[in-house]
């Protein structure tokens, strides 16, 4: 077995040093009736590297990957180009095979990159501070709601009609054990002001996604003003973080907490995970004290040199146990590293250009698809994702297009459930799409109608 260094001679000598006669003596505490004498049933024996690789390659070929298709899926996960240097750097042993930085003297690599990551996320979102990551955007959103409830000492939460339904469901699940009452408005586009009708003095927060699940841009400012007037907080959700290279930041529009999916920068589609949740908030002790997850902070060492440590850990489960702000422990370390490396390669100049490129491509595609008879573009303002009303069932049309090598977006019914918005198709486009892709998409869509 290639991963096991001990040989039989080692094992015998070690058992002798321990003072037992067989390995099973060390497992004597396992109740006799539950011990396994034979190998686990139904599983094969060990396999060579070649054979495992062969099996995986065969399985991999059974899927239509984005790179093989004209690809237009978004809905919370986006396909952007990640520079080769990013994947190379995150595979360096010192980053890849390190644990959570519990011993700061020998973990400054991880800690300094986390500090840089936190700063980048704060800058990008226009917020005061950011934590060292959550699992993904949806869980960041659920944690943000609980955080808002603790800060305001209120228990009501209102979800915008344009919030990704998976995010809404994640909030619901998380609220279950925490006596938080969730009001989810019926999904709709451009109906965010409806939230203000149910906003009251018990409201801890309103949760608004921008761009929303239909790709529509939302001005958060009037919503934030209304929330603040009632003593409630505004949680801004973003699933496409690249949009912040072009779209006004949530911080500038009055958000109190930002919960975002950071996958678009540095991280691939990976069939849904691992991704990287971003959580940023106002630079306010009350907020920071109630934040979930980890923070890296600056300090000095015994000789006065600058260094970084995990800090404010009295909020965390390993110290506070049942009184912790969250049970989160392992988060998205290596994905934050990919994020921070990609974003430092882009810089402000690159990010703005990348965002502009995405938007320009989206404008051109919207014009092109909107010109097809029977198709209507529902958005007034968008970044790189928009919604089409089709003259037919979007799920069936997507299926037909897929058979022609086009992954033509997400049928709204896939995320809202069948029977709802059956004719709506959510289409995302990025810098990875080519003019040839657009032509193939248009042709496949016309053919499938």
């Amino acid at each position: 077995m290639r991963y096991l260094p001990l040989n039989e001679g080692d094992r015998t000598a070690m058992l002798a040093r321990i003072g037992v006669s067989s390995i099973d003596d060390l497992f004597a505490d396992i109740p006799a009736e539950t011990r396994l004498d034979d190998l686990i049933e139904g599983l094969p024996k060990h396999a060579t590297e070649m054979s495992v690789e062969r099996d995986f390659t065969a399985l991999s070929r059974q899927s239509l990957s984005a790179g093989q298709a004209a690809f237009y899926c978004g809905g919370g996960a986006y396909r952007h180009h990640v520079p080769a240097s990013v994947d190379h750097l995150i595979q360096r042993s010192e980053f890849l095979t390190a644990y959570t930085p519990y011993q700061p003297e020998i973990a400054q690599g991880t800690l300094q990159t986390l500090f840089e990551f936190q700063t980048q996320v704060a800058q990008l979102t226009g917020m005061g501070v950011a934590n060292a990551s959550m699992y993904d955007g949806s869980t960041a959103c659920a944690e943000a709601v609980r955080m808002a409830a603790r800060i305001t000492r209120r228990n009501k939460c209102i979800l915008a009609p344009g919030l990704h339904p998976h995010y809404g469901q994640t909030v619901h699940t998380s609220a279950t054990g925490n006596s938080i009452e969730v009001t989810a408005l019926p999904p709709a586009m451009g109906q965010d002001a409806q939230m203000l009708d149910v906003l009251d003095d018990d409201t801890a927060c309103i949760v608004v996604q921008n761009p929303n699940v239909f790709g529509e841009l939302v001005d958060l400012q009037p919503l934030a003003d209304a929330a603040h007037a009632k003593g409630a907080l505004l949680i801004a959700v973003t699933t496409e973080i690249v949009s912040l290279g072009l779209v006004k930041s949530p911080g500038e529009m009055g958000a109190d907490i930002v919960a975002a999916e950071g996958q678009s920068i540095g991280n691939g589609l990976n069939f849904g995970g691992p991704y990287v949740g971003l959580l940023a908030c106002r630079d306010d002790r009350k907020f920071i004290r109630q934040a979930p997850g980890r923070f890296a902070g600056e300090t000095v060492d015994a000789s006065g040199r600058r260094g970084y440590v995990l800090t404010l850990s009295t909020r965390e489960q390993h110290i506070r146990r049942e009184k912790a702000t969250s049970n989160i422990c392992t988060n998205s370390g290596l994905c934050t590293l990919a994020f921070t490396i990609h974003l430092s390669l882009l810089g402000e100049l690159g990010l703005r250009k990348l965002a502009a490129l995405n938007h320009a491509r989206a404008c051109a595609l919207a014009d092109r698809l909107g010109a097809i008879d029977g198709i209507e573009i529902l958005n007034t303002g968008f970044f790189n994702e928009f919604t089409l009303r089709l003259p037919g069932n979007a799920a069936q049309i997507v299926e037909t297009m897929a058979q022609n090598g086009v992954l033509g977006g997400i049928p709204a019914s896939r995320i809202f459930g069948a029977g709802r918005f059956d004719d709506l198709l959510i289409v995302a486009i990025t810098e990875t799409n080519t003019d040839e892709d657009d032509t193939a998409f248009e042709a496949a869509l016309r053919g499938a109608l």
């Binding site: 995970g273 060492d301 969250s326 897929a402």
Partner: protein, 516 residues
């Protein structure tokens, strides 16, 4: 002094004593390069990515164009490589040396797994593509489920939890849903948690709305059965037990614990962080477990990555499998299908844990690990992990003080008795290990032991590596006892930084860089 043929000295002069005090003009120290913050080396007009020209277009941003300066610094590719490579060299890593963090299972991360996780059929597929186009990826999830169920003997597995603590939450939410289904949620409020448990256990139970009732350990480091029996009652929802526990011991009475909790109408949640010790030796189903999360980033070698990403699939007993969260995988004829909403479901899912269906990148790596080992290799993993831990326990007991008598499982626990009256604390001892080139063990955990030092070598250490480690620790213990206090209290002096001021960091939090 030895001189070679060109007259150059080939052995250094005795300058050990001055090496530590050398100040350099550059701030670098030999191979260890000084590296400022990104914000001090980058510039907002620099870019390491070439992008195509932006086509002419009229923006359709609804008046929400970003106009403020963002402030994000950029780096060219060569500058970025240097920045991150230099930073990486300030990290300890498994690939560098033994990483004995108890309960964290820092084992070798096979590189085959990295390669396979990047195959396009797994890495470059979208979670919401038509399911007909991702059958290979779904099949992989199905195969992973089959292995996890075979190893544990359990009925079903929920794949979506994104880490161990997320898995705990998933398992406890299943229990909550089952109790609600039975109409007993209002009565069953208490969850029993041993005080040796990871902090995540009580935090999880609290997040699910339960009250936490702590169970003390007995003199052998296991659940005190007398107290447990007394605490059992009709208001108990569950017990959350780690097995093997965080003292590195198998809970001998586990069958009795399971029977008692079941008789009382409660459920048995097992924290599977330490599954690495018992794979192929016993099955958790046979131990009476109802739900257990499995840290793919511990037992199944997916890299820890400096704090994630992890994955925490939860195996469930027949009593709980109907409550597994959305989405879940079913086999429909020759097709795999993800059940994504209540309308499609024939079961009673408690809800949704996160946006998509879990950590695919970890599934591929973990399955590659399992298939590489096979049933025989996985059993050998547990045996070697336990053998290595006991070997260290035996060797280190010459100078250090084991917390409990007898053999351990995959990790060996010591207390600070051996440091008594030396003026050296567990923390000092750990920091001195850094100077010796080792990452310290888990310190001050579990809480049931004074000044705990919890050592988990894992199965991927050779005997030579264990011997070097043991020799070093024994020498340190002797030095502490011999009164060489300064060697410990000043440590580390050979790491990139000396001890950091954590109090200052917490009192005056600086959580981001700002332009001064």
């Amino acid at each position: 002094m030895a001189i070679n043929s060109t007259g150059r000295p080939t052995t250094p002069a005795d300058n050990q004593s001055i090496a530590q005090d050398v100040k350099t003009f550059s701030g670098s120290r030999g191979l260890l390069q000084a590296e400022p913050l990104l914000f001090e080396v980058g510039a907002t007009d620099k870019c390491g990515v070439d992008l195509p020209r932006v086509p002419e277009h009229k923006t359709r941003l609804g008046g929400l164009e970003r106009k403020d300066a963002i402030g994000l610094p950029g780096l060219s590719e060569p500058e970025a490589m240097r920045h991150y490579v230099r930073l990486s060299q300030r990290n300890y890593a498994i690939d560098l040396g033994l990483y004995p963090l108890g309960s964290c299972t820092m084992k070798h991360n096979p590189r085959l797994n990295e390669k396979l996780a990047r195959l396009p059929g797994f890495a470059d597929v979208h979670p919401l593509q038509p399911q007909s186009t991702v059958q290979g990826a779904l099949a992989l999830m199905g195969e992973l489920s089959r292995w996890l169920c075979a190893i544990t003997g359990m009925e079903a597995v929920a794949l979506s939890p994104k880490a161990g603590a997320h898995g705990e939450w998933c398992g406890m939410m299943c229990i909550r849903a089952a109790l609600a289904d039975r109409g007993e949620l209002a009565i069953r409020r208490r969850v029993l948690v041993p005080e040796s448990a990871h902090g995540t256990n009580p935090a999880t139970a609290a997040e699910c709305g339960f009250e936490i009732d702590e169970l003390p350990a007995d003199a052998t480091g296991r659940v005190d059965m007398q107290v447990f029996t007394d605490k059992i009652g009709p208001d108990v929802a569950a017990i959350m037990l780690t097995n093997p526990n965080t003292c590195g011991l198998f809970e001998r009475d586990i069958r009795e614990i399971a029977d008692l909790i079941h008789e009382a109408g409660g459920y048995f949640y097992c924290d599977g962080a330490n599954l690495n010790a018992i794979m192929g030796k016993t099955r958790v189903r046979d131990l009476g477990v109802d739900a257990m999360h499995i840290n793919l980033h511990k037992t199944f070698s997916t890299p820890h990555g400096g704090g994630g990403p992890g994955a925490g699939p939860v195996v469930l007993s027949k009593r709980l499998s109907a409550y597994a969260p959305l989405p879940y995988l079913v086999r429909d004829g020759d097709q795999w299908q993800l059940i994504e909403d209540d309308a499609q479901s024939q079961e009673k899912p408690f809800g949704r844990l996160c946006a998509f269906h879990g950590q695919m990148g970890m599934f591929t790596r973990a399955l590659a690990y399992m298939m590489s080992h096979g049933a025989d290799g996985l059993r050998q993993v547990s045996e070697d992990a336990v053998l290595n831990a006991n070997y260290l326990l035996a060797r280190l007991s010459d100078e250090m003080s084991p917390a409990f008598d007898g053999a351990c499982m995959h990790e060996a626990l010591f207390d600070d008795e051996f440091l008594k009256n030396t003026g050296v604390t567990t923390l000092d001892f750990a920091k001195a290990m850094i100077d010796e080139g080792y990452h310290p063990m888990t310190m001050y955990f579990p809480l049931v032991v004074h000044g705990a030092l919890l050592i988990e070598p894992t199965e991927t250490e050779s005997r030579e590596s264990l011997d070097r480690f043991a020799d070093t620790l024994l020498a340190l213990a002797k030095a502490a006892k011999a009164g060489e206090q300064a060697k410990f209290t000043n440590a580390p002096v050979l790491a990139p930084l000396q001890r950091l001021d954590e109090t200052q960091a917490a009192r005056h939090p600086v959580l981001r860089w700002r332009e001064t």
